[in-house]
Amino acid sequence: MSAVTTVLPSSRRVRLRAALASLALALLAGCAWIPFLQVSRFDPATEQNLAELRPAVSAAYAGFAQDPLDTTALASVRGRLDDALAHERTKGEANRRTTRQLELILATFDRDLASRRGGPPWSAAAVANARENLEEAFDIALRTERAKRR
C-alpha cells in the first residue's frame, strides 16, 4: 500500500481506499449471510406433509396383506411421497436432514413394495411390524422438523 500511496495522486488514493472499503464491506456482509442462509427454518407445509403421510403410508402397508394389491391407492401414496420429497429438495443444503429422511422413507417404501409385488401377501405379524417401523420413521422426521421451531 505504501508504494500505491506514494505513486498515486491524493484523489485517486481516496477513490482506491473507498473502493477497497466497499469491497471489504461487501465481503463481510456476504459472509454474514452464509450462516443465516444455512439455518433450516420450520416449515408448516413440511409438518403437514409428514403428519398426513404417516397414516397414509401406514395404511398402504396394511394393504400388503391383501391380494390383489390396490395399485391405485399405492400409486397415490407413492406420488404423495414423491411430491413431499420434491418440496424438501427445493429448500437446499440447509434442509439436508429432512430431505435425507424422506429419501430413506421413500427408498424403504419402494423396496418393500417391490418385495411385496414379487411375493405372496404379507402375514398379519409382518404388516403390524412394518407399520410400526414406518410410523416411527415419520415420528423421527416430524421431531426433526418441529425442532426447527426453536
Binding site: 435425507r100 418385495s115 402375514s123 405379524a125 411390524n129 412394518a130 417401523n133 423421527i140
Partner: protein
C-alpha cells in the same frame, strides 16, 4: 415364543459357527440394555422378529424386510442423537448388517 428363538438359532447354526450364534444373542442382549431408549426399543423389536421367525409367524423374506427397516430407522435416528449414542447406533446398524442380514440370512 420370545425365548424360543435362541434354541431355534442353535438348530440352524452348526457348532463350527457357534461364534455367530453367540454374537447374535449378544447383539440382541446388548441393544436391549443400551442406555438410549430408542436403541433399547430396536433391540426388543429385533428379538420379537427373531421369535416370530422361529415360530413361523413371519417368513424369511418378511424377516429380512423388517430387519432392513430397523437398520433404516437406526440411520434416521442416529442423525438426531448425541455423539456417543450415535456411535453405538452406528455399531448396532453395522452388527445387524453383518450378523443378521449377512451370516444368519445366508443360512436360512
Amino acid at each position: 415364543m420370545a425365548g424360543g428363538w435362541k434354541e431355534w438359532l442353535d438348530e440352524r447354526i452348526t457348532a463350527g459357527k457357534k461364534i455367530a450364534r453367540d454374537e447374535i444373542v449378544d447383539l440382541v442382549a446388548s441393544a436391549k440394555q443400551d442406555s438410549n431408549e430408542f436403541l433399547r426399543r430396536q433391540g426388543r423389536k429385533l428379538e420379537r422378529y427373531l421369535g416370530q421367525l422361529a415360530a413361523g409367524e413371519i417368513t424369511v423374506d418378511e424377516f429380512k424386510t423388517l430387519v432392513r427397516q430397523l437398520r433404516t430407522l437406526i440411520e434416521l435416528e442416529a442423525e438426531e442423537m448425541g455423539t456417543r449414542a450415535a456411535v453405538r447406533a452406528q455399531q448396532l446398524a453395522e452388527d445387524i448388517t453383518r450378523l443378521i442380514l449377512g451370516q444368519l440370512l445366508r443360512r436360512l
